[in-house]
Amino acid sequence: MSRVVFDHVTKSFGDVVAVADLSLEVHDKEFLVLLGPSGCGKSTALRLVAGLEDPAEGNIIIGDRIVNNVEAKNRNVAMVFQNYALFPHMSVYDNMAFGLRMRRIPRRERDQKVLDAARMLGLQDLLRRRPGELSGGQRQRVALGRAIVRNPSVFLMDEPLSNLDAKLRVQTRRELVKLHRQLETTVIFVTHDQVEAMTMGARIAIIHEGALQQVGDPQEVYQHPANLFVASFIGSPAMNFFHSELRLHDDQLMAHSSGGRFPLSEEQARALAVLKEGKVIVGVRPEHILPDWEAEEGPEAGLDVVVDTVESMGHEQHVTFSAGDTTVVARLDAARSLQEGERLRLRIDRAHMHFFDPDSGQRIERE
C-alpha cells in the first residue's frame, strides 16, 4: 500500500503561503499529475511528501502511516529533480548507486540493481561517464535510474521534462508512462505544462496559489472545469469569457454581454436560478465558436464581430475577433481564409456553454 494523502496540509514561508489547506488522496499505483502555474506551490507539496519540508498544519500520510515526523530517508520515496541533481564528480554508476550505498546493500546486489535499471533505461554503455559528458536526455534518464534502483514505494517527479527539447519531451513522456506501468508504483508528477498533464495523468490535480482547485481525469477537468481558474488554465487557446447579465425577452432567458447575447435553454435557466444578482460569466471554448456559414439551424447565440488577427497552425487557424469591448478567440478550420477587419457573425453551440458565478468563480452545473 503506497497511497499518499495530504490531510489539510498547510505550509508557509514567512508571509507566503505555499500550500494552503491541501487535502488530496493519491491512490496506490496511480500516476497523479500536480498541475499549476509557476509559484503555486507544486514543488513545496512534493517536498512535503519527500520530507524535505515540514508541514505547519495537517498530516502527510504514506500508506497508512502519518509521516510528519519521519525523516526523509525513512519514507521510502525517491525524487527526480527538475535539474536532475546529479553529482558532477561521480560516474553514472556511482550516481545510480548513491542511495544504495547508504542502505548497506551488498556489492553484488547493488551492481545487479544498477545494471538492471541501466538496461531498462538504455544506459548500460554510459555507466563510466560523468554527468557532464552526457546529453540532457541521458542525464534525465540517469536521474530516473537513481530513483528506480532504490525501489521506492512512491516516485516524486518535479518537472523532470522541462529541460528537454520539445521532441525529446514528447518521447520521454511516453517512456515515463510505460515505465510507470512496468514499475507499478505510485507516481506524483509535477508540471506547469497542461499538455504534459493532459497526456500523462490518469488524474490531474490543479493547484492555484497553494490551494487545490479540482481533481479529475483529463476529460473531466476539460469538460467540467470546477471554477474560473481551471477553465482559463486548461485548454489552449484559453476559454473565452463573457461577463453577462440575465434578462428575459418574451419568456426567453438571455445572457447579455457587450459582445452579444445568448439565448438559454430552460434547463440552463433553471440552473442559473441560483444566481441572485442576475449576473453570470459565460465561458465558451474556442472550438465551440463557429462562423455563421458553418452553424446549423437552431436556437443559437449570435455575436457580431470583426476579425483582429489570424494565426495559422496549418491544419486549423486561431482567429482573434473583437466583439464590443471583449475579444474572442476561435479555433477554425483552415479551409476558409479570413481577412483582417472582415465582419462576420459567430454562432455558439449552447450545449457547450459553461457558466460561472461571478462572485465566487465557481461553476454552475446544469441539473
Binding site: L52, K73, F81, N83, H89, G99
Partner: protein
C-alpha cells in the same frame, strides 16, 4: 588565385607578429619575477671571496656545493625545517577542517543568527593580525604553552578568509544536491565528505597552499613564543644566519635555497589545482 593567398600571407604574418609581441612581454615580466630567485641561487654557490666582489658575479663559474653542507652544519637547519613543516602542516589541516565545517554551516544550514555570525567572521578579516598579537601572547603564556607546537599552531587553526572563500564556493552547489542526498539517507557530515568536499577540491587546494605559504613564512609569532633552539622555525634560523658577517652571505643564501625547497616542491605538485582553484567556478549544469 593570387589575391587570396597574398591576403592569407599578410594574415599569417600579422598573427605571427602578435604572438611574438605577446611572448616578448611575457618573457620580460617572467625575467623580472625570476631574477631575484636566480640571484639567490647564484649567490648560494659563490665562494666567500667572490660574493663580495664588484661588479657582482652573475654566474657561478666555480660552484661551491660545499656551501650547502656548511649551512646545514652551522645551524640545525633540518630541525628548523621539521618544526616549520609540522607547524605549517598542522595549521593547514586545522584551517581546512574548521573552514570547511563553518562554511558548510553558513552555506547549507538555516539557523538563527546566521547572517550576524557570518558578518562577525568577515569582520575578523578587517582586523590585522598584529593587533591581536599581544593578547594572544598573554594567553599562550598563561597556558604555559611557550616553546611548544600548540603555541605555534593553535592561534591559526581557524581562518575567516578560508571560511569566506569556501562558503562562496559552497553556495554554487545547488540545494537540489543536498535534497537528493538527504532523501538517499546522507546526513550533513556524509554529504560534506562525499559530495561537497570532492566538488571543492580546487578551492581546498588553493586554500591549503595559501595557508601553507603563510605559515611557512611566519616570523614574528614564532620568534615571540619560542626560545629553545629545537623549537625554532626556519625563518628565525635564517634571520639568525643573516645577522652575521658579510662574507658568509653565501652560506645564508644556501640556507635560504634549502628552506625554499619544500615550497617549491609543493607549488609544482599543486600547480594544476591552484590554477583551477583561482580561475574556475567549478560547477556547471
Amino acid at each position: 588565385m593570387d589575391l587570396p593567398t597574398a591576403r592569407q600571407g599578410v594574415e599569417r604574418y600579422r598573427r605571427w607578429a602578435g604572438y611574438a609581441l605577446r611572448y616578448a612581454v611575457l618573457l620580460v615580466v617572467a625575467g623580472i619575477v625570476v631574477f631575484p630567485i636566480y640571484m639567490t641561487v647564484v649567490n648560494s654557490l659563490l665562494s666567500s671571496t667572490s660574493i663580495i666582489a664588484w661588479p657582482p658575479e652573475l654566474f657561478p663559474f666555480d660552484p661551491q656545493w660545499d656551501n650547502f653542507r656548511k649551512a646545514l652544519d652551522e645551524v640545525p637547519l633540518m630541525r628548523y625545517m621539521l618544526n616549520s613543516l609540522i607547524m605549517a602542516g598542522v595549521i593547514v589541516i586545522g584551517q581546512l577542517v574548521t573552514s570547511a565545517l563553518a562554511a558548510y554551516a553558513f552555506a547549507f544550514l538555516r539557523f538563527p543568527g546566521r547572517t550576524f555570525l557570518f558578518i562577525l567572521f568577515l569582520s575578523t578579516l578587517m582586523v590585522p593580525w598584529e593587533v591581536s598579537i599581544v593578547p594572544n601572547f598573554q594567553t599562550i603564556q598563561r597556558l604555559d604553552w611557550l616553546d611548544s607546537y600548540q603555541a605555534l599552531t593553535v592561534p591559526f587553526l581557524a581562518t575567516g578568509l578560508g571560511t569566506f572563500l569556501l562558503r562562496q564556493h559552497f553556495l554554487t552547489i545547488p540545494q537540489e544536491l543536498r535534497d537528493a542526498a538527504a532523501i538517499d539517507g546522507y546526513g550533513h557530515i556524509r554529504f560534506l565528505i562525499f559530495v561537497v568536499l570532492p566538488l571543492s577540491r580546487a578551492v581546498l587546494a588553493a586554500l591549503a597552499v595559501f595557508g601553507f605559504l603563510q605559515a611557512w613564512n611566519q616570523y614574528l609569532w614564532p620568534l615571540l613564543v619560542t626560545n629553545e633552539e629545537n623549537m625554532r622555525t626556519v625563518q628565525i634560523g635564517l634571520a639568525a644566519l643573516r645577522g652575521r658577517e658579510v662574507d658568509t652571505f653565501n652560506i645564508t643564501m644556501a640556507a635560504t635555497v634549502i628552506s625554499a625547497l619544500p615550497i617549491l616542491i609543493m607549488l609544482v605538485l599543486f600547480q594544476r589545482q591552484l590554477v583551477r582553484g583561482l580561475t574556475a567556478g567549478a560547477l556547471k549544469g
